[in-house]
Amino acid sequence: MKILVVGGGTGGTIVANNLSRRLAREIRAGKVVITMLSASERHMYQPGLLYVAFGQMSPDELYRDQASLLEPSIAFHVDPVTNFDLDQNRVRTQSGSTHEYDILVIATGSRIVPEEIPGLAEGAEHFFTEEGALRLHKRLMQFEGGTVALTVSIPHKCPVAPVEAMFMLHDFFKARGIRDKVRLRYHYPVNHVHATANVARWAKPEFDEAGIEYETLFNVKEIDPARKVIHSEEGTEVSYDLLIAIPPHRGMEVIEQNKLGDGGWIPTDRYKLTMDGHDNVYVIGDATNVPVSKTGSAAHYEAELVAENVASFIKTGAPGREYDGRVYCFIEAGFDRATYNSFDYVNLPELKRPTKSVHWFKVAYNQMYWTTVRGVL
C-alpha cells in the first residue's frame, strides 16, 4: 500500500506523522510506504506572521526544517508535483520523477493573489508572507499619524485575522503613545463587522470602545496608490495614509493548472474529505472547497480524521468516522487579551470575554505548534 502526501504544511505534516504512528507495524513489515512531496525544505508557522508585523516575533522563530518534523519512516522529497494523473493513480514532479499511489492526500494549501485587484500590490501592505510582514512592521514603526485603513478581500484564510489586526493596531499605537494621532478604519465585505454572527456581536462593541471606525458592505474594487484612495464594488471611496490589506486568496497554481478545481479549490466531500469522483484521493486544509475556515486549525482536525480513516481502512477495510466541521481558533483582542472561536457544522461559536490567560496560552501555543505538527500534542 503506497500512501502519497502532497504538501508539507500543517495538514500534510500532521496526516503523514499520524499515519506513520498508526501504521508503524505495517510499515515495519513492508506492507505500507508513506511518501511526502513538498515544494519547500522548510516549514513555516504561518500564524506567527501577524506577530512579526507587530514586532512580537522574529521571522527565524517561524521556521523549522521540514525533515526534522517528520517521523523517520516517512520518505520525504523536496520535489513539488507538477502533474496529477488521478485516473492512473500517479503524479509527476518537477524533477521528472513519477510517484504511484494507492491513496493520495492533497494538502497543497493556498496563496495570496493581490494582483487580482488593481493597485492592491502597489498600494497596500499585508502580513501573509515574511517579506510582507517585515515591510508592514517597518511602515508601522515609521508611522507618525493619519489614517490606517484595513480592507478584507474574499476568499481569504484565517477569517479572524482582520479583527485581531485591528485590536493589535490599537494597542500598538497606544504603546507608541500616538493612538490619538491615528484614525483606525476597518472595511468588511458583509453587513456585519465579521461574517460569523457571534464574532460580530462581540467585536462591534469592542471596536466602539477602542475608537475603531468601521464600514461594512465594502468589497475592494481597486486601489489608486497615487491618490491613496480605495474604491469599493459598492460605489464608495475611502482615503488612507497606510493601507493594510487582507488580499484575496486562491488555491495553488498546480491545482488550477491540472484543472482539479475552480480557483484552485478542489471539490471535496465535506464529511469524508475525499475528492469528488475519486474515493482514494483525500483533500485537507486550504485546498478544499469545504465551507469551513481556511485555517491551520481546520487543516489539523481534517488531517487527524483522514489519518484515522486511512489507517482504519487499511486495518479493518472501513473508515471510522466523518469530519464534523470542527474548528478552534484563538482570537487576539490586543496585546494582552484573547478569546477563542470553537464551532462545527452544527454548533455555533459562543465567544467568551477575552482574558489574559487565553492570550498567554496563545503565546505558548506559538511554540507548542511544533509539537502539534509532530503529532505529539
Partner: protein
C-alpha cells in the same frame, strides 16, 4: 452563455454563507444565476442587503426542508 451555479453553504458558520456567495460571485460571469443554500436564518436579510448595495439582482428566496434557497443574478 449564462450559467446556473449552486453554492452549498449549509452549516457554514465561518466564513459563512454570504462570504461563500461573494467568493463565487467574483468568479461568475454577468448574467449567471447563483443559488445559495443556507441553513443560517440571517442569510435572508444579509444576502439582499449586499445584493442591493452592490447592484446585482435578487431572483427568489424560499425555504425548503429547513434550507434557504436564495437565487441571485450577477448584473455587472
Amino acid at each position: 452563455m449564462s450559467e446556473s451555479k449552486l453554492v452549498d453553504a449549509r452549516n457554514s458558520f465561518c466564513p459563512g454563507p454570504l462570504m461563500e456567495l461573494i467568493a463565487h460571485m467574483k468568479r461568475a460571469s454577468v448574467g449567471d444565476t447563483l443559488e445559495l443554500l443556507s441553513t443560517d436564518q440571517g442569510s435572508v436579510e444579509d444576502v439582499p442587503a449586499w445584493i442591493h448595495k452592490v447592484g446585482h439582482e435578487m431572483v427568489s428566496t424560499e425555504k425548503v426542508g429547513g434550507v434557504w434557497h436564495i437565487k441571485v443574478r450577477k448584473a455587472k
